[in-house]
């Protein structure tokens, strides 16, 4: 709240371009101040976004949109200030410490992201996605693919132009240029390798797992489960997962998310009386995102170095919490008594039945409802469609046939004629978000790799888990992932953490172990 000294800092932060600073790291120092200011404004953006999802009454929407647009405009002006380019050039020649170098690398990446596109395209793209996303809310329930096509065609046209321009700048292929914004360093070539053999083994594994499970189906949950008790259970489990409630909270929203800022994490979940596992596992999932953010390097918290590394790494944390730890029999044994305290001692609430409910495999049409084993086919299908769509190899009209063929091949489902829970089911494409879907499965792969590395580092891990001691899990994540922020390129992060860049064999082994060999 020290306004006068802030004022002085701000005045320094925007010198005339002509006035080259004298100090040896003046360009870098200016960038640090610039990003500190942006960090402060992003704080206000994040908290008001959270408020919008959790608390804002409908009538406040227009005023909020205008206020946030003003802030976005202001921040865009700061990010595209010509002085930033000069500071980046200066800093390039300055003598920096290794962490400062890493920070500068991320600064430059952010700058390219904000400065790469002409205003005319940004404007056209915003109009196109706003129109498509708005219509999608109506067209999806109506199963109206034909109504969607012309609007989506314009979204794709804009995304192709965006990808083409970013491609020219970066030397990446058009699709890879979009992918790089969510998963820096990842390419289609590597994705193709990573995903290549999934169709060869996963459909079979799904069939085997289902056959095994159908011999002893889990007892279904019998609600109603009081939502107050669900909330209390979520809080208790989050405490066990080490969530810092002094620097965060959990509330309710229609679509669970992890928002806020590292110093004040705002997780959400949702409660339905028929089922408590949805809210519980949702909270465990978001808790992985939340602890990552809460434990990013505090000394750098207002700088790009302290950002989460990528969407794939972020998802590796939520999935390490939800899938690796949260569905581990020892963890279920640790929280089982709390579940029964909350909801009574029914036969469906034994540890064994809870474990079966949490690992039940059931192919379905909807990605967000998919279980651990059938999730990847949903991602694979979208990746198979969006890459050639952006590269101009297929057109929007080709999507339904590709969708139906993929769902038949990968999950054995007949989806013909169902657009609502088919290619219309996700908000990503109407919003023009391409290159994002692969991060979900990359996250699952990284999570399995982290767990394998942890297991190698701590040979008695399962004994510790069996005693209810999960501290090694958190300590490993803190040291190898959370505290690293964006200090390393992703491959280097993975190498330092686990000895190799991403290796999908850990994920396959984990799935085969859990779904074929572990007790059912």
């Amino acid at each position: 709240m020290n306004r006068p000294s802030e004022s002085a800092a701000t005045a320094q932060a925007q010198p005339s371009i002509a006035e080259a600073p004298a100090a040896a790291t003046e360009g870098y120092a200016q960038l640090v101040r610039h990003h500190r200011r942006l960090h402060h404004l992003e704080h206000l953006q994040s908290i008001t976004w959270w408020d919008q999802a959790v608390h804002m009454p409908a009538g406040g929407a227009t005023a909020r949109a205008e206020a946030l647009a003003e802030l976005a405009e202001l921040m865009h002006g700061m990010r595209t200030d010509p002085a930033v380019r000069v500071w980046l050039e200066q800093a390039h020649d300055e003598t920096l410490q290794p962490d400062q170098h890493a920070n500068l690398r991320e600064m430059a990446r952010e700058w390219r992201g904000a400065n790469g596109l002409p205003a005319e395209l940004v404007s056209r793209q915003q109009l196109a996605t706003a129109a498509c996303e708005h219509a999608w809310r109506r067209l999806r329930p109506a199963n109206d693919w034909d109504g969607f096509v012309p609007l989506f065609r314009e979204v794709v046209a804009c995304a192709r132009e965006q990808a083409r321009l970013l491609s020219a700048q970066t030397g990446l292929s058009p699709y890879d240029a979009l992918l790089d914004r969510h998963e820096p360093g990842m390419t289609s070539e590597r994705l193709t390798q990573l995903f290549a053999d999934i169709p060869d083994w996963l459909p079979g594994l799904i069939r085997q797992a289902r056959a095994r499970q159908q011999a002893l189906p889990p007892l279904p949950l019998r609600g109603p489960f009081d939502t107050g008790a669900q909330r209390a259970l979520c809080l208790r489990v989050m405490g066990r997962l080490g969530f810092d409630f002094d620097g965060g909270r959990i509330d309710v929203s229609a679509h669970p998310f992890c928002g806020g800022v590292p110093q004040d994490i705002r997780m959400t979940t949702r409660y339905t009386e028929a089922d408590f596992l949805g809210s519980l596992l949702g909270a465990v999932h978001e808790c992985g995102h939340g602890r990552y953010e809460q434990n990013l390097p505090r000394d750098w918290i207002d700088q790009p170095l302290a950002r989460a590394r990528s969407m794939g790494i972020h998802e590796s944390q939520s999935l390490a919490f939800e899938m690796q730890l949260g569905r581990h029999p020892a963890f279920i044994a640790a929280i089982g008594p709390w579940v029964r305290e909350a909801f009574g001692d029914g036969p469906a609430l034994t540890d064994a039945n809870l474990r079966r409910l949490m690992t039940q495999v059931e192919p379905g049409r909807i990605r967000v409802d998919a279980d651990e084993l059938t999730y990847a086919p949903h991602v694979l299908l979208r990746w198979r469609i969006e890459r050639p769509l952006i590269e101009g190899e297929i057109e929007v009209e080709d999507i339904p046939a590709l969708w139906d063929a993929g769902m038949a091949e990968l999950l054995g489902l007949d989806t013909r004629g169902d657009f609502k829970d088919g290619p219309l089911q996700d908000v990503h494409w109407p919003e023009g978000l391409f290159g994002y879907f692969p991060c979900y499965t990359l996250g699952a792969m990284y999570a399995a790799q982290w767990m394998a590395a942890l297991r190698a580092a701590v040979p008695d891990l399962d004994d510790r888990f069996a005693r209810g001691d999960f501290s090694a899990f958190f300590d490993w994540m803190r040291h190898h992932v959370w505290q690293q922020g964006s200090r390393w390129p992703t491959d280097e992060l993975a190498r330092r953490a686990s000895g190799t860049p991403l290796d999908p064999s850990h994920w396959r082994r984990h799935l085969e172990q859990r779904y074929l060999h572990d007790p059912w």
Copy 2:
């Protein structure tokens, strides 16, 4: 969210000072855009303030303070942009419509408020008030007046300097220059007249009322009263009061307030199981503030014209709701059945007993706990002290003796040695907020004047009220106060609404009627 067109507007909004715009109202048009941008940023400020009071975990405080300081700095930069002075000068010579003239008058007033003080004084004052307010939190519970004195002396020294500079600018006396920021147009001379005879009649009225009430004391409330039921009752009563829940909400905070923005009002209250009247009447009070804000002129909502007229007028709305309408026997009869639905049929919950509980007179040391009749003495006492303190006629050391003498004279209480619930009780002075206290009693006076005018305009008002029809009350306020915003200077607003500027005789008559003549 229309970023490109916003971008164009912004670019226009900050032309070089040298580029005199050509259009006949270009200065005014620039000011309109300037205030629209500020309105958007104030939105983010208000919502994050609300979040801070209602939701933010303690660990988020530092990051939030830094983020809000950044925004304050940014807005201060906009408000003190030299271009604004040029636009004001241009606009002064432009041909404007009457409402535009009123808007320009308020723009100029805001500009003076933001530009009147040297940065050095603002800085010194912030340090002094921060130190004093911080220490006050510890010194008040410890009853440590001597520890408070040196810190408060520096706060007063800054406020005197601030008042002196504003006085030189405005031609007002130093205290009046501070008062004018909260209650534009009000002066010490008028306050002296308005408050002059209160000591002559109010202490006697308090004695008479207490004697009358002690003959039949109300039955005390017997809790516990379920806080969920209290919240449901508050929502029901707010609905009856016309609060628009599509554009606002009510939550819990340690100190109830009405925040948010006109399009999204964020009221708070607090619940204790021992007593439901506190939360209920608190909600009714804040509802008056809330409906005022919700019904400010929407066509002007992002301009100074659409601001609430003054703190006194704002308080006139909360007190019209809480005292004039909320304690009216017909209103109590309307909500009495809901109270009994919520908490059962006990003898303390009859309409008559509820009315007695709501109008019970009991002098006490604490302003915020005071009843309708004993509230004004608390304000009068503070006004008697802070005016000469700012004018340099008394010093900080003189306060305790003046306090004790005033409390003895006005409320018959011996407060010697009690600083905690004496001159240390309010946060206003440690925060350097002088010239604010009188607004509370001005609000009570205006509220009574509005009610008298309404009664004159609607002769069968009590019959309507008795039928549970309170629409005339809301319609009158909407038309005469809410929709006027800051279109008129306060005296003109009062004249148009009620025929005369503020006339405190309505308030005295109201109190004498309620506490001496209405059924007890």
